[in-house]
Amino acid sequence: MTVGSQLKQTLASLRGARGTMRAYANQARDEEARNAYGEGVEELNAVIGDLEERLKALETAEPQYRGL
């Protein structure tokens, strides 16, 4: 497996986690828990953003892996 596809996998699982966490941020009844999940979503946004950029850089450097 290439670095690019590994990175894509990790990105996908992070995006999934972000989705679940966003749902929790809305449905948790406790204020503190809601805030913790909300902050988690923010943090994941930053991580996902960084990784997406890295993926883009990889794909421009090695166009043969694009879309895999």
């Binding site: 929790y24 948790a28 009844r29 406790d30 828990a33 999940y37 902050e39 960084d50 890295r54």
Partner: protein, 286 residues
């Protein structure tokens, strides 16, 4: 009027009256009554029965006696709520049986409790070793309540300095195949949400015996058919595991990648995820 009709009418009237009086006297459970309350209830019961059966011939006499037995305790309760002295006079005072880990033999004798009975009451509280008790008190209801020595108490998350998820009471949303709307609205959910969750679980509403939503908003279902295996909600554990996996991946990438900048980016984000995991641990795992 034949005598049996008279007894029938008296009985009905007194049944209703006794019912109302006992309700007015409060909600105390018979097993938790102080001796005084027991006397009051017994007197009301006996007077009502005797009047109903014409042992007390004059119906009015019976009513007067009943009124006294019911209204005096009400008045005394009112006073007791305002004055500690009246309260102690009525219901007695609790007796300290064990203080600073030492059994108070004098108080035991005063309460007419034998060592055997004290040990039995301690065992009823799951205390088999008298040495574990710091403080024990005999309540006026006859119960013995125990404070364990601080090193014998069960550990609480607070002592371990663990953060735990605050849990509110779960709401029952399905009972016997019927939707309980009150539970849904209490959780801020609606029937549409429930329909989606049931579809996700692949279950028809009629097949659900009990459905409860916990404070995390997860639905627990118990079906009529116990042979059907339903996956219990494990989403939180899975979320935690998924994040942990992603964090490990990032550490891995950081080790493999060439180039300082990319390495720093991976390592930095791995660190962020690690902190996030530590912060979410109480919510996702405990």
């Amino acid at each position: 009027m034949p005598e049996w009709v008279e007894i029938l009418l008296r009985s009905l009237a007194l049944f209703l009256l006794a019912f109302l009086l006992v309700r007015a006297l409060g909600k105390k459970h018979p097993a938790k009554m102080s001796p005084f309350t027991f006397v009051v209830y017994s007197a009301i019961a006996v007077t009502a029965a005797l009047t109903a059966l014409k042992v007390i011939e004059n119906f009015i006499f019976g009513l007067v006696s009943l009124a006294v037995w019911a209204l005096t305790p009400l008045a005394l309760d009112y006073l007791a709520a305002r004055s500690k002295m009246v309260h102690d006079l009525l219901h007695g005072k609790e007796t300290v049986l064990i203080k600073q880990g030492k059994i108070m033999e004098e108080n035991l004798k005063q309460a007419r409790l034998t060592a055997e009975e004290l040990l039995r009451d301690l065992r009823a509280k799951d205390v088999f070793n008298a040495a574990d008790v710091e403080f024990a008190v005999l309540e006026t209801t006859g119960d013995v309540n125990v404070l364990l020595k601080s090193d014998k108490k069960p550990i609480t998350p607070h002592q371990m300095e663990w953060k735990v998820l605050p849990q509110t009471e779960p709401q029952t949303v399905i009972m016997d195949g019927n939707i309980i709307n009150e539970g849904l609205t209490n959780m801020g959910l609606n029937q549409g949400w429930l329909a989606v969750e049931l579809e996700k679980a692949g279950v028809a509403l009629e097949n659900v015996f009990v459905g409860q939503v916990d404070s995390q908003g997860e639905l627990y279902l118990d079906l009529f058919d116990d042979a059907v295996q339903l996956p219990q909600p494990k989403v939180r554990e899975l979320l935690y595991a998924g994040l942990e996996k992603a964090q490990a991946d990032l550490v891995n990438f950081a080790a493999q990648v060439e180039g300082e900048e990319a390495k720093n980016m991976y390592a930095g984000n791995a660190g962020k995820l690690e902190q996030l995991l530590a912060r979410l641990r109480p919510y996702l795992l405990r």
